[in-house]
């Protein structure tokens, strides 16, 4: 499966084969499909990623999580990298 480029205006969710494990720095994410392991480097990022499913777009999730707008670019960067690794997929993706 080819990963879709991240766009904060679209609805995203965690890939169904991705598991998150809480860790002191945030969480470890493991993708059982492509066997990739990645680090979610802050608890805020973990909360954000977990909330994506309930929001109409990533941007709406930033807002709902009460994240300072100044920090949005860094979260957007993190989500872009997660989408590139197929950890995040579009809401309606199979």
């Amino acid at each position: 499966m080819t990963a879709v480029a991240f766009d904060a205006n679209r609805p995203w969710r965690l890939h169904e084969r991705v598991a998150l494990r809480p860790e002191p720095f945030g969480a470890l994410a493991y993708h059982y499909g492509n066997r990739r392991l990645t680090f979610l480097r802050s608890p805020d990022l973990v909360t954000l990623v977990e909330s994506l499913n309930d929001q109409p777009s990533a941007r709406a999730a930033f807002d709902a999580a009460g994240l300072d707008a100044k920090r949005w670019p860094s979260f957007e960067k993190a989500l872009t990298s997660l989408a590139a690794g197929d950890f995040l997929v579009l809401e309606n993706a199979a």
Partner: protein, 377 residues
């Protein structure tokens, strides 16, 4: 170190890279075997005990385990436990010498989800490989690789321990892996197990290591198990965490259930506990005295004045220990030659006292497969 590696050094709720050796039994007697394997230990875990460990790993959300040995496929319950792991959501990556990968087993493995295979080959020709792994093993591994390809297993890993004799064959390894659609995995030779004796003659030279560093830097897709972090002192870091993960992100469960800080330190000094103790593996990982100590900031010792300490962290604990160096000495393969100087000083002061392994399951000499001796004094 980055903020992330600082945090990793303080330990995690569960290991990232858990090696679990399933048996000390092996039909080979490789001269560099990190676990001195050969004979099965009578106290190896039973099928039920193995499953209880899997249950606990699943509960701790250990995403996958690296299965090794010995030769794990020699366990009669090998497939039963692999299937149990997969059922519990614990992925399996196992290392094998390939001897049991016949057409039937290759098909069975190909039909399973979450199973990755690392097949060991230590030379791109029979002469180089068989000198390390034993007579006839080159042909045997190639046959196993053919079976995996014929069974459409998909991408397996071709795993090579870098030695003085094979490190210059890396291009040929890359081509061989590509021919099978396999991933190439190169790892560092540590002086562990039977390697305590053979390492001194067989580890890559300084010049070879520098070439290897440049080769790896140009090929981030080549897997290394993060094992060459001592080379990152040369400049640009190699891909990976670049830290000694012992007891922090890595540990080992041996075939009798003892837990060690990493797969390369099968020695009482680095034994943290046993899965048979109260609280099982989780208790050892989370609160053993040894692991707690390993998660404290390390003392740079002799490396304190070196500008590259942040890049290499002083190198590999196991490699220092089994060459007789103190743990705060430079890595014996320090790219600036500080380790060689430290070893030479030990020799000048009456000779290095090299620890021996606390557990040796090597077959008695003269029994089993022919072992090609490496000349060592």
């Amino acid at each position: 170190m980055t903020a992330l590696t600082d945090q990793l050094a303080e330990g995690l709720n569960s290991p990232i890279c858990l090696t679990w050796e399933w048996t000390y039994a092996c039909d080979l007697a490789c001269v560099h075997c990190l676990s001195s394997s050969g004979r099965r230990d009578p106290n190896e875990l039973s099928t039920e005990q193995m499953k209880a460990v899997v249950d606990q790993l699943a509960e701790m959300q250990v995403f996958y385990v690296n299965i090794g040995g010995g030769e794990p496929m020699l366990r009669p319950d090998f497939f039963e436990i692999v299937e149990y792991c997969v059922e519990k959501g614990v992925g399996v990556k196992f290392s094998t010498n390939g001897g049991r990968i016949n057409a039937e087993n290759a098909k069975r493995l190909a039909s399973m989800d979450y199973v990755d295979i690392q097949i060991s080959l230590d030379g791109v020709d029979a002469i180089t490989n068989d000198a390390v792994r034993g007579e006839g093993t080159y042909e045997r591994v190639r046959t196993a690789m053919d079976h995996l390809r014929d069974a459409n297993f998909g991408q397996f890993k071709l795993s090579v321990v870098m030695t003085r004799e094979n490190v210059e064959q890396v291009d040929a390894y890359e081509a061989l892996a590509a021919e099978y659609g396999a991933e190439l995995r190169l790892t560092r030779f540590r002086p562990s197990g039977r390697g305590i004796d053979t390492w001194h003659e067989l580890h890559p030279t300084q010049a070879q290591q520098i070439e290897l560093y440049n080769w790896l830097l140009a090929r981030p897709q080549v897997l290394t198990g993060d094992s060459f972090f001592h080379l990152s002192a040369l400049g640009e870091p190699l891909p990976g965490l670049n830290l000694c993960g012992a007891g922090r992100v890595v540990c080992l469960i041996d075939p009798v259930g003892d837990v060690y800080a990493c797969p390369f330190v099968l020695h009482d000094n680095f034994k943290a506990g046993s899965i048979h103790g109260e609280g099982g593996f989780a208790a050892v990982w989370q609160s053993s005295d040894l692991f707690t100590e390993l998660r404290e900031p390390t003392n740079p010792g002799a490396c304190g004045s070196c500008g590259s300490y942040d890049a290499c962290g002083g190198g590999c604990m196991a490699t220092k220990f089994f060459t007789g160096l103190p743990l705060d000495a430079p890595d014996p393969e320090c790219v600036f030659g500080h380790g060689e100087t430290a070893l030479a000083e030990l020799e000048a002061n009456g000779g290095a006292i090299r620890p021996t392994v606390s557990v040796d399951h090597s077959k008695p000499v003269g029994v089993g497969k022919k072992r090609i001796p490496v000349s060592i004094l």
